[in-house]
């Protein structure tokens, strides 16, 4: 398993988490409004709990558990999602 970059209580972006880590979304910095709206519609809102579940064998995209279902996003997009690590 990849080495943890962030520990409990740290602030960072979703891209820095490894499989199994849990976090709470603190902000969504998507530059384009359409994509940001899509993230919001899919349940990535401030305060949402997310867990990193699976990573594609090629390292990208990443599958996260949010609001009881699994959502795949590319790493470039995970970088725009700010989180606070809780586990």
């Amino acid at each position: 398993m990849a080495k943890k970059k962030l520990d409990i209580g740290d602030l960072g972006c979703l891209n820095d988490l490894v499989i199994g880590q849990k976090a709470i979304v603190t902000n969504i910095g998507a530059p384009n409004n359409i994509f940001k709206r899509r993230l919001l519609d899919m349940g990535i809102t401030k305060g949402a709990k997310v867990v990193i579940k699976k990573v594609s064998p090629l390292g990208d995209p990443v599958d996260i558990l949010v609001r009881g279902y699994e959502l795949c996003l590319r790493r470039d997009d995970l970088k725009m999602i700010g989180v606070e690590v809780v586990l």
Partner: protein, 653 residues
């Protein structure tokens, strides 16, 4: 009464639609199976039901979602049935909160409720009903549970209570804005106006409200509404759902293997290899003799019967050498197709399809495509027409246009007879491997073409990839058999219509000369004359001026399997009814492994059949664009065919 079915992608709308209306719409386990709205009537009623493409919200993102939103906002609906996936209620209820902003009646259907126990979930639908202010009914569309209750609820619609889901401050602003608006669905329109998703004549006032909201919550206004909706949903969830923790689901366990860092990609390659190896190699060689014998027997018996009845030579030849030879040649491949269709159906309904997209997104991103383009490709292994239509789920316009052009490059089931015929004869024991190699050649061609197109035609990079990863589901035997049956029947129907007509046409052209005398040598027939005019075009990839192969290749535009049927008719007429297309002294005796492979390649990549061309035209929204794409495909096919022939000659002499 008019009712719409709406819900998230992959929540089982089409399964419920099929059950309610007794129809056979396609179902599958990936987000975006339904791309067009379908209509039907609920059994034994006059309720019209519309099945809409799945959406996550009423702010549409891709093309097929726009259809759903437009249909909902047309405002001629008596009722909306909102399908909620009971196993992921939180995200599903987000859409419900938006639907409840409308003035239409809503019935919430908790689908897949049979799965709740397995997931250690319990949902109290009475509390949910009270919280949402509309009827809530637990059903399982797959297991046919709760359908009577649903029909009851539709028949006894009551006006629902108006729901306020936001805090007082927001509700007040929504109310204020609605005073400036006319027409129906004022609450919905006010929120959309505040979200800048709806134009009004009162921009100044609306902008003032937006400022106030953004200042109060310290977020942009779109984010405020989304967050507050989810806050409401969380509160509802907490009041009616009890969830026991499960550490690892079955899906997680399967994914540990299928998405494994080291074996995930090799497993994918093995699965795709097996699809072609099993259908063409293993099953093909086991059944081909039996089926060919059957066709030969029918044609012999028919010939005798007609002779005994005193039929003239030409009518005997029309039936035996034209109709039976042409249609029979196509029908001999049904065993292979059955296996191919079963395997594709399993890929589509198990949930593996969405995983292929997840596995290979990074790889295809490099070439300006994304994991989403893979779904049209896999659907295209059955038939290019639904494959081309499946491109609608791709949001990026350039990527979508590229995928429309590339999808026909995947060997579809109609190209399988061409591949199987040539590889079966020229590569015998290696037929399965050769067929699989054709598949991998098509993948390589797709990648190289994508690079060229991104560089010169559809410039720019692929946009974001955001999609749901569905859980694995055990494919239902009933649905798999039905899907395979439907596909085989449609193949047989095509053989009995388009292929039969073309066979008669080809028989006429090859039995008569230009001054309409019957019984001329085939070499002097109209078909041969036409073929000789164009055979130079195919010389560089066949190494022979063959009018027969040339006219057959061109007929691929009617239907790809017509190539095989044309060759069977021509071979039969020239060799006095021999059933062996590649008899060494016959008209196609010149084929070598190199020219055979080259011929397969040309047929694979050249202009697709008319059905697919129609779909391409529709998806491009422009006949000119489709024409350019087809010319490009055919030019590329010619170049590749020639290359394969000359490289092949180095290998096989």
């Amino acid at each position: 009464m008019k009712i719409a079915l709406i819900g998230n992608q992959n929540s089982g709308k089409s399964t419920l639609f099929n059950l309610l209306t007794d129809s056979r719409q396609k179902v599958g386990n990936w987000p975006g199976v339904t791309i067009e709205s379908k209509r039907g009537y609920i059994k034994n009623t006059d309720f019209e039901l519309i099945d809409l493409p799945g959406v996550y919200s009423l702010s549409p993102y891709s093309n097929e979602e726009k259809i759903s939103r437009a249909e909902i906002l047309k405002n001629d609906l008596d009722c909306i049935i909102n399908i909620v996936d009971a196993t992921s209620i939180e995200r599903s209820l987000y859409l419900t909160t938006q639907l409840l902003d409308l003035e239409t009646n809503v019935i919430v259907v908790l689908n897949m409720s049979d799965m709740l126990a397995k997931k250690k979930l319990t949902i109290d639908e009475n509390i949910l009903e009270a919280k949402l202010g509309c009827p809530v009914i637990k059903v399982s569309a797959l297991k046919n549970i709760g359908i009577d209750k649903l029909i009851d609820a539709i028949s006894n619609l009551k006006n629902r209570s108006k729901l306020k889901i936001f805090d007082e401050f927001l509700e007040e602003k929504i109310n204020d804005v609605s005073k400036f608006l006319d027409g129906s669905n004022k609450r919905f329109a006010s929120i959309k106006a505040l979200e800048n998703d709806f134009e009004t004549n009162h921009e100044d006032i609306i902008n003032k409200y937006i400022k106030e909201i953004e200042n109060k919550y310290n977020m942009d206004v779109v984010e405020v509404f989304a967050s507050k909706r989810y806050d409401f949903v969380e509160e509802v969830r907490d009041s009616c759902v009890v969830r026991e923790n499960i550490n690892e689901t079955v899906t997680d366990k399967i994914d540990k293997v299928l998405l494994n860092k080291y074996v995930g990609i090799p497993i994918f390659i093995l699965i795709m290899f097996l699809v072609y190896f099993l259908s063409v190699g293993l099953v093909g060689s086991a059944t081909v003799d039996f089926v060919e014998g059957l066709v030969e027997w029918v044609s012999g018996a028919m010939g005798n019967l007609l002779t005994n009845l005193g039929a003239s030579d030409w009518s005997n030849s029309l039936v035996v050498d034209g109709m039976i030879a042409g249609v029979g040649a196509v029908l001999t491949f049904i065993p292979q197709l059955i296996i191919l269709f079963i395997l594709i159906s399993l890929l589509e309904t198990s949930g593996y399809m969405a995983r292929i997209s997840f596995l290979l997104d990074k790889f295809f991103k490099r070439f300006g495509l994304s994991g989403k383009s893979l779904i049209p490709f896999i659907v295209g292994t059955g038939c290019s027409v639904p494959g081309v239509m499946a491109t609608r789920t791709i949001e990026d316009d350039n990527e979508r246009k590229m995928t429309i052009l590339l999808t026909p490059f995947i060997p579809c089931s109609a190209k399988l007879p061409v591949i199987a015929l040539f590889s079966g004869f020229f590569f015998r024991d290696y037929a399965g491997i050769v067929s699989a190699s054709v598949y991998f050649l098509s993948v390589i061609t797709i990648i190289l073409t994508a690079i060229i197109l991104r560089k010169f035609v559809y410039k720019g990079n692929s946009t974001a990839y955001i999609t749901e990863l569905p859980e694995f589901r055990l494919p239902s035997i009933k649905y798999t058999l039905r899907d395979v049956y439907d596909r085989v029947i449609s193949y047989i129907k095509k053989a009995g219509s388009i292929i039969l007509l073309s066979s008669i046409f080809i028989w006429v052209l090859s039995s008569f000369s230009f001054n309409f005398t019957y019984g001329v040598d085939v070499e002097d027939s109209m078909l041969a004359t036409i073929g000789k005019g164009i055979s130079w075009l195919f010389y560089p990839m066949l190494g022979e001026l063959s009018w027969g192969a040339s006219v057959s290749a061109i007929q691929g535009i009617v239907a790809k399997e017509q190539v095989v049927s044309s060759m069977a008719i021509i071979a039969g007429l020239t060799d006095g009814g021999s059933s062996l297309i590649f008899a060494s002294d016959g008209i196609f005796g010149f084929f070598t492994p190199a020219s055979a492979y080259a011929f397969i390649v040309f047929n694979l990549f050249s202009a697709p059949c008319l059905g697919t061309i129609g779909a391409m035209k529709k998806e491009y929204g422009s006949g000119k664009h489709a024409l350019k794409a087809i010319l490009f495909q055919t030019g590329l096919a010619w170049i590749l065919g020639v290359l394969v022939y000359w490289i092949g000659r180095l290998i096989w002499f």
